[in-house]
């Protein structure tokens, strides 16, 4: 019979199998790289109102404790954004020096007009894990650094971690990796350079080891669905 198909088509099954194999690997790799929060969320750095809030200056150079502004972080699931009055505690008009006035003018105006500054939220969780309990984590000894990165070095805050569920579970399954002594939770520079920079076995703070910190928890980190999705 006549040839219905040209001879080169005999190579198609082999080529097709090869293309399918490498195509599959390509799809898996592309999904892993581009379609995960480590790519889509990390580095999110929205422009804040006014001149923004310089964490590097306030928390880093001036050494203001995180809890001075985020007052409820030890008591409430929500680590609150400070209200304008908190800013005005330092930046009240009589205390402002002349060169500062254009930087904090928007705070002063908001205070005068009795309205809030609309800071833009950076760390967003889906609504089905909305009540992330900051209090439980801070009290258990998870440093701010583990989730938010080195805030004390950020002139403009950005998202440092993916905040995806596998990332949560990684710590819940191996809590000793991120547990710090309770009085060092907000000491981000110490946490980064003195604690997390060392291997787990080498971490020791006045005789306290990561394993002791884990053992001291009243309840081991939950891994059930209902712990977060309730």
């Amino acid at each position: 019979m006549s040839a219905l198909f040209p001879k080169w088509m005999n190579a198609l099954p082999t080529l097709g199998a090869g293309a399918a194999f490498f195509g599959l690997i390509g799809v898996v790799w592309a999904t892993w790289y581009w379609a995960t929060p480590d790519y889509t969320r990390v580095g999110y750095m929205p422009t804040q109102p006014g001149t923004g809030f310089n964490h590097q200056l306030h928390a880093g150079q001036l050494g203001i404790d995180c809890r001075y502004c985020h007052t409820n972080v030890e008591r409430s699931p929500e680590a609150n954004i400070p209200n304008v009055a908190t800013c005005m505690g330092c930046h009240a008009e009589e205390r402002l020096r002349n060169w500062d006035i254009h930087r904090v003018g928007f705070i002063r105006e908001a205070y005068a007009e009795d309205r809030s500054v609309e800071w833009r939220r950076i760390h967003k969780l889906p609504d089905y894990v909305r009540n992330f309990p900051h209090d439980a984590h801070v009290k258990a000894g998870v440093s701010c650094f583990s989730c938010h990165g080195q805030i004390m070095g950020m002139p403009v805050v950005y998202q440092a971690e993916g905040l995806h569920m596998g990332w949560c579970l990684d710590c819940h399954r191996n809590p000793e990796k991120h547990m710090v002594p309770p009085d060092k939770v907000t000491d981000l520079v110490w946490v980064e350079t003195e604690w997390l920079a060392r291997p787990i076995a080498g971490r020791n703070y006045n005789g306290v080891t990561p394993q002791q910190l884990v053992d001291s928890l009243r309840r081991s980190p939950p891994q059930t669905c209902g712990a977060c999705h309730h």
Partner: protein, 525 residues
């Protein structure tokens, strides 16, 4: 005589048409296949067809539209139902599961009923193609191709329902154990996950079986189209206006060219060499071996969806064999439901699918119908014998509670109606068989409805008691799945080989001219 095809000469000689040779077929009853003498093999192909005739008949179904103007209107009706069903699925996905009649107590209703119904339908195809193949039941050759096609389409319809019942269909990938950024796996201890593996394995193996069986037939269709092309016998496609309008237009398309390409691609280079046949036979046997446990495992695992729960009415050890028997029962009913009209509508179909075939399948309906009847009785017996008041209540509530009509529809259709087939006259009457098959199909749908809804609607506390009422979305999605099934089966009947030509030819007398048939008739060696 020299101009005659050698097959025809053999056929005529064996049929007694050639001088000096006795006919091999004595036809005491009916269409000649219903011989009762156990020493005489019933012929599986009638009217002394030659091997070439079989090719002409089977290829003719793919190459020409069926006689009469029923195909296109019927297809339009079926595909309209399918389209409406798909629109309803879209509506369901956009709006949510609340468009179904589900409530707090009855969380599974028509969705899972339809899933189990369709999965069960498929079992006849697997049984015919795998188990009957291993047992060398030659009569399977007339029904296996269409039963396998039916299996594929039924499993496709079945797959729709668990997928849409999850509500957020974009998360359906989570049923597969795919490494993911949530670092979680499906629950490997859940039968719902086993179901995913069972059904996807079943679909893959059935599809391979069906497709591989068609490869030689595709090659025949390819060669016929190619030969017509080379002889200049191919015409262009002409579109005729419907009804009384006198208008037609010739398209610049030659159907045979498309056939040669499409069937040629599907035939993947099959050249009828004996090496091809040798590998084909081996592969067929291996697939039959793989499929055989699937006949039993798939519906067993579907039954685990219910049996591993602790709900009275579901928590029953009899479920796996009971479900398998029910699946084969419902599957054969669907085969008969489809093929009996096809016998009437397609020319020469009755030569290949004889009354003997229908009778065999009617006997299977009778046997499996009594198996499910036994299971229904056993459920009640164990509910009483087990002395668990909740279990007993669940079953008494089935038969006499608010869904009594569904229960007794099931009993009437599944247990009572097949009893007609004790009568030989009934099981050789295609109209009776078709009506019983229809009743059984209805009854098997109600069986799943009864198992699911009557068990769920009254749980342990009266405060949890709710009735289930379907909404129009429930109904239209179900009729949509029927439409999808019928549309696909009609496309299969129109464009794919409905019979495995090589296998049908192998059970014809010409394939065995010196076999015992000739000997029995005194033809001599």
């Amino acid at each position: 005589m020299s101009a005659m095809h050698p097959d025809r000469i053999t056929a005529e000689r064996l049929a007694g048409l050639a001088p000096g040779v006795a006919a091999i077929q004595d036809a005491p009853t009916g269409d000649g296949t219903l011989v009762e003498d156990p020493a005489v093999r019933a012929p599986l192909v009638l009217n002394n067809r030659s091997i070439h005739d079989v090719t002409e008949i089977v290829c003719g179904y793919c190459e020409k539209p069926p006689p009469g103007k029923w195909w296109l209107p019927a297809f339009c009706v079926a595909s309209t139902f399918a389209a409406v069903g798909m629109l309803m699925i879209l509506y369901l996905i956009i709006t949510g599961i609340g468009t179904w009649g589900l409530n707090n107590q009855v969380g599974w209703a028509w969705d899972i009923t339809n899933f189990v119904f369709w999965i069960g339908i498929g079992h006849a195809g697997t049984l015919i193609s795998a188990i009957l193949c291993l047992f060398k039941q030659k009569w399977r050759t007339a029904v296996n191709r269409s039963a396998e096609a039916m299996t594929i389409f039924a499993v496709m319809c079945a797959g729709i329902f668990p997928a849409i019942h999850v509500g957020r269909i974009w998360f359906i990938w989570m049923v597969f154990p795919i490494p993911n950024y949530n670092w979680i796996w499906p629950n490997f201890r859940s039968p719902l996950l086993w179901d995913v593996f069972a059904v996807s394995t079943y679909f893959t193996v059935s599809l391979l079986f069906w497709y591989m069986g068609m490869i030689p037939d595709f090659a025949t269709l390819r060669d016929r189209a190619d030969r017509r092309l080379r002889r200049g016998q191919s015409a262009r496609v002409r579109l005729q206006a419907p009804g009384p309008v006198k208008f037609s237009v010739e398209l610049p398309i030659v159907a045979d060219r498309i056939r040669a390409l499409v069937y040629g691609l599907l035939a993947v280079g099959w050249r009828f060499s004996s090496r091809h046949w040798h590998r084909y036979e081996n592969a067929y046997l291996i697939l039959a071996g793989i499929s055989t446990p699937l006949v039993l495992s798939v519906h067993s695992i579907v039954s685990f969806d219910f049996a591993t729960s602790i709900l009275p009415g579901w928590h029953t050890t009899i479920f796996p064999p009971y479900f398998v028997a029910g699946a084969i029962f419902g599957g054969f009913a669907m085969v008969l439901l489809l093929l009996i009209p096809a016998r009437e509508l397609y020319p020469n179909f009755k030569d290949l699918l004889t009354l003997r075939h229908l009778e065999n399948m009617a006997k299977i309906l009778l046997v499996t119908g009594m198996m499910v009847g036994f299971a229904y009785a056993m459920e009640f017996f164990i509910a009483w014998y087990g002395a668990n008041e909740y279990e007993l209540y669940a079953f008494i509530n089935r038969a006499s509670g608010p869904y009594w009509w569904a229960y007794w529809t099931m009993i009437t259709c599944n247990v009572v109606s097949p009893q007609l087939f004790w009568s030989r006259a009934m099981r050789t009457n295609p109209v009776v068989i078709w009506i019983v098959a229809l009743l059984v199909t209805i009854g098997m749908w109600f069986e799943r409805f009864v198992i699911i809804v009557t068990s769920l609607h009254r749980a342990f506390l009266p405060g949890e008691w709710h009735m289930f009422f379907p909404t129009w979305v429930d109904i239209l999605i179900f009729t949509g799945s029927l439409g999808i099934f019928v549309s696909m089966f009609m496309l299969f009947m129109r464009f794919l080989p409905q019979f495995p030509m090589a296998e049908v030819k192998a059970v014809m007398p010409q394939a065995d001219p010196h076999g015992h048939n000739a000997h029995h008739n005194g033809g001599g060696h």
